[in-house]
Each structure stands twice: as C-alpha cells, then as structure tokens.
Amino acid sequence: MPVSRISAAFDKARSDGRSALVSYVMAGDPDLETSYQVLNALVDNGADVIELGAPFTDPMADGPSIQRAGQRSLKAGTTLKDVLALAKRFRETNQTTPLILMGYANPVHLMGYETFAGAASDAGIDGTIIVDLPPEEDMPLREAYAPYELAVIRLATPTTHEARMKTVADGASGFLYYVSVTGVTGAKKPVASDIAPGVQSAQRISGLPVCVGFGIKTGEQAREMAAISDGVVVGSAFVDIISEMEQGKSREEIVESVARLTRELSSGLNRNGGVA
C-alpha cells in the first residue's frame, strides 16, 4: 500500500512530536553502489522519507550542486531503469521508508507513463515529484498511477497564491512539497517567517502534510523550518558531501559524513524543544 507508507511516515513523525526529515540524493552519484549505501545510512540515522533523484541532462529547476550530481550520475551511465532497480534493491531490506522519485518529465514520458507507473510500483516507489509536470500537465501521469496508488506529489511555491493553491491541491496526493524560495535548489536561504503563511495555506487547502525544501542545509535551519511544517527536505547538503568523492574521499568516509549530517538534522526536528 504505497500511499499509506507515506502517510504512515508522517503520522509517526507527528506522534513523535517532530517534523519528518525528508532527504534527497541523486541516484547513481557517483555510482549506484554508493547511492545504495547512502540510502541505508540516511534511514539508519533518522531520515523519514527518501527522495531519490533521477538524473536529467537539462535540470532547469536545479542549482549547480544538483546539476553536477546529475552529470556525474549520467556520466556513470545511470538510466531511469537503473534508478528503479536501485529502489527495488533498497526495498529488499526496507519496507517502511517511503521512496519518492524526483526528476523531470522527459525520461518518464519516453518510457511511457503507464510502463513507468507499473515499473515504479514494482520497484517499491511510493510517489513521484516530476518538476516540470505542473497540475495542468500531469493528468496522464495521474491516470497511469491510479491502479497502483502511486502518489502524485506536487510543488507549491511562494508564487502559488491562494486561488492557485486549490489547483495545486486538487489531484495531489502523498504530501505537498513547498518550495521555500523563488529560485533553484541549493541557492537562496529560506526565511521561516516569509513562508509560514504559504505553508499554512497549503496545509489548510490540501489537507496533506506539507514539506518545506530548497536551501535548507544545517540543523539550525532545519529546526526553524520544522516549526512551521510537517517535513523538512534537505538535498544539496547531502549532494555536496557525496561530491567530495570526486576529490578522492572514500565511499566509507562519505557514507559516514552523510550519517553524521542526518543525525544532526534529525535531532533538530523535534518540535517540542528537546534541542533548543
């Protein structure tokens, strides 16, 4: 029951009195084995939800960190099928952590929405965020997902005004991803007080958990965002750690650094203080 894996994760975080930690990494950066070990390090150290990036040559919503991660992954030959195979391998030992595939429309479109939906469901994927399929264009995806209960996770942004939030909420499932800044991944720093009204509007109108992401890199920032949301997404900070393999760091060192950052972020997400 894929969608319920997502709601179970948010329910659990809520009952623990904390915001969920949603972590993003690029599949296949710099190789699939590293990604596999990183995924396990993430969940073992407190990540509640995993977003698995699928590489694309033209990632128009991503900043330099994730652009380069995608290029490293593509250089290693990673395909959409490989990303699904990685998900499947992860699922062999983990049946609880939601896996969200995040990427761009073209590779999915070329595979065919129906073929992709079947393969994603089979791989244990729980939902997708396809950045360039806004509500106006994601109907074919929603139809293809219907038999599988795969979640269509949509983006809301600071430019999504109240009236448009209804369009975004209508047909969305799983959770909403509130993009905390106008900009690309990893660039600007979000300010909690600026986005709190937008996040509340997203929560109220969609009735879904709302996660905040883009530009959150430290435990301090995560704590600030946790106070106003159901989940905090961290991507570029993990991707930056993984990029250090290019400078000669070993896989073990990378995995350990990822684990450490995950613990730091996770400990910051407790809403009822604890760490203040």
């Binding site: 040559t57 983006l155 430019t159």
Partner: protein, 403 residues
C-alpha cells in the same frame, strides 16, 4: 482527423497544437506564464499596442522588408521563380527583432524592468539588447560559453548596447544550456523579470506570441506577392532553428492549401552521423523547455546535443507548431548539411550580391532542387531571415582562409 480549415485555430486553450506544446514548467513559473497570457490577450485587443508596434516596425526596424526577385539564382537553377523576403535588411540584421519588440512592449505593459534572454548565434541577444537600450531597460543575456567563443562580434555588440552577458558553463555550454540558465534566472527573479524567448518554443503562450509577432513576415510577403504577381506563391521556404522565422512566414499561408510550406533543418554532418540539429527528421517527441515537441534524445530520454555549423540552428528541439504541421502533413521538412549550407552561402553571395547568414543558407541549399521540381511557371518565396556579416569569421575558418 480532418484538420482542414482549422490550421489557424491553434493553439487551443491549453496551449496545444494537436498533441504538441503545453506548459511544462515548474510550479514557480506557472503563475507567471498565466499572467503573461492574460496580458497578451489584453494587448491583442488594444489598438494602442498594435499602433505602437506598427510605428516601431516602420521607423525603427525598417519594415516592410522588400520582396526581392532573385533573378540570377532563378536562372541558375532554371526552375520556379525565386523570391527572397528580405528580413536580413531589418535593423540588427535578422528577423529576431520583430519578436523582441513585441515581447519587450509586453514586458513594459506588465511593469517589468529587467529583461532576460537566451541566445545562440547572438542575433536574438543583440536584438533584445537593442530594444532594451531603446527603452532604457536592464538586459541580461545568457549565452553558452562555447557560443561566446565562436560569436565574438555579437558578444561585443551586446556589451556596447549595455547588456550583461552571462556565459553559461553548465551542460555543454550551448543554446539549450543558455535556455536552462535563463529559466533558472527567471524562477529566481520572478517579480521584476521578463523572459524574452527568442524562438517559437517554450511554454505556452510563447510559441503563440512569437509566431504572432513574426507573422508580420508572412503577411507582408503575401501582400507583396499579390501586388507583384497577382497571385499567391506555390511554396514558401525557411530554415528552422527553433522555428520562429519559418512559422512567421508560414502562418499567414497556412490556410491557403495550395501553398506548400517547406522548412529546412540543419543536418550538420548528416542525420545518420548523429551530429546534427534536425529534431523533426532525426528526433522523437519529448518534453523540454516547457513544451512537448520533437527532440534529439537518447533511449533513456536524455537530451542529445545538437550540432550545426550555424549557432542559430544548433538546438535539439523545435517549436511545437512545426511538430504539429509536420505530423498532420501540412508542412514538409527537408534537411541540409554544414557543407551544403557553406556552398549555398557562397553561391548566393556571388550571384545575388547578398551575403546571407548561415541559417538561411540552409534553406538556400535546398531551393534549387525544389525550384527545379516545380517548373518555371511556379513561384517560391524564401525567407532570407538574416545577413551574413556575423558569420564571415567562421566561414573563413571553414574555408581555410586566414583573414
């Protein structure tokens, strides 16, 4: 599906030309393109807007551009009469300014003070920088680092005009990467920035409004042809990068079913080599830069870099209306290699005393065959959409001449 007499009805309310086009952008940009569409609808109904365009077209751009009978080329090929629509005589040397004026006027209606643009050959960048200088607007042009190197004169021109040039290193440093970077800038600066797209592609309403602004080419050509020959041409021809000069010429003829619409894509070293820019002849439908259209892509849906001798045609996609016109059979799309374009460039220069840009040289390279096939009682109009001054350095290089 019978599409006759409906050629002119596209795009539909969702920005689709049949199954092509659409609005494939990140949510941050959706409200912006919806606003743009609203503003464009208002401008279309506003006689003041049209009057301002007409005035600038006439006195600033130099329109109407002549329709010229290319007598010696016609004799050379010995087939149909060849006419050139002389859009290379426009201010800034290409058709690009037709569209820039329209978009910048729209931007000003919307109260935007900062204009961004992508450019490949630099022609759209120069046109945008020119119009921004004319209206005192800030202009930022994204250009692939590779193109900054091979289009130095245009880079300097843009700087003289006061534009900031941002060399784009990401991806492979060509036009598609410049477009990605412009989109990234746009999502970052949503409040004050207007994205002036240089071809009939991108998310709805861009393909429609770029087509409409460029359709001045076809409207004038039609009127001039009726005046000159008392009848419509039998074919109209144009080169295809993203397809703006071609759609501008084609569109006013699209309902005239007796007029063949012929586009020419750049096939670089040859479609079979994989080193080309012929999205319709060597690509598959996909989604990039806001629209569903034909794209150069691999089996995993990754975009393949285009290759063409002409930086203005070096793009792995094509405007969605061309994808539609192709699939529905209304228009035909031929190809031309780098070498053929170089030959045609020289032929036109020698026979007509007109140095064409490398882009329209691609259409020129196919015109002989089309003309011969048609016979002397028939007429072709080709869009000579740019002049070759910008290309003389690279042509010299390709011909092995040390300047």
């Amino acid at each position: 599906m019978d599409l006759r007499n409906t050629w002119d009805k596209w795009p539909d309310a969702n920005g689709r030309f049949g199954e092509f086009g659409g609005r494939y952008v990140a949510e941050t940009l959706m409200p912006l393109i919806l606003d743009l569409e609203k503003e464009y609808r208002a401008a279309q109904k506003d006689p003041e807007f049209q009057a301002q365009m007409d005035d600038l077209w006439k006195h600033y751009v130099g329109r109407p551009s002549p329709l010229y009978f290319a007598e010696r080329l016609t004799d050379h090929f010995g087939g149909a009469k060849i006419y050139f629509k002389r859009d290379e005589l426009n201010h800034t040397g290409a058709h690009k300014i037709n569209n820039c004026l329209g978009q910048v006027l729209l931007a000003m209606r919307m109260g935007k003070k900062r204009i961004i643009a992508e450019t490949g050959a630099g022609q759209h960048g120069v046109a945008t920088a020119t119009v921004c200088a004319r209206f005192g607007l800030q202009c930022v042009v994204f250009m692939g680092a590779t193109d900054v190197e091979r289009q130095k004169p245009n880079v300097f021109r843009m700087r003289l005009l006061g534009a900031e040039i941002v060399p784009v290193e990401s991806g492979t440093g060509t036009l598609k990467d410049a477009m990605n970077e412009a989109l990234r800038d746009w999502v970052t600066n949503v409040d004050d920035t207007f994205y002036c797209i240089g071809t009939a592609a991108g998310p709805h309403p861009y393909p429609e409004l770029v087509r409409d602004f460029q359709s001045i080419i076809g409207r004038e050509a039609k009127e001039q042809m009726l005046e000159r020959e008392g009848r419509l041409p039998d074919a109209v021809m144009a080169c295809i990068g993203g397809g703006s000069n071609a759609i501008g010429l084609f569109h006013p003829f699209v309902e005239d079913e007796g007029v063949r619409l012929i586009g020419v894509e750049a096939s670089g070293h040859g479609v079979e080599t994989g080193m080309h820019a012929a999205a319709l002849n060597g690509g598959k439908p996909g989604i990039l830069h806001g629209n569903r259209t034909y794209l150069l892509q691999d089996d995993d849906g990754q975009i393949i870099d285009a290759h063409s001798i002409s930086a203005g045609l070096d793009y792995p996609g094509i405007g969605p209306e061309h994808a539609f016109l192709r699939d529905s059979g209304r228009a035909e799309y031929l190809t031309c290699t780098d070498d053929e374009a170089l030959e045609a460039f020289q032929l036109c220069t020698r026979l007509e005393g007109i140095i064409p840009a490398l882009e329209p040289s691609h259409a020129l390279a196919r015109i002989g065959e089309v003309a011969k096939e048609m016979g002397p009682d028939q007429i072709i109009i080709m869009n000579l959409c740019g002049r070759g001054d910008k290309d003389i350095f690279s042509v010299a290089g390709h011909l092995g001449i040390d300047m």
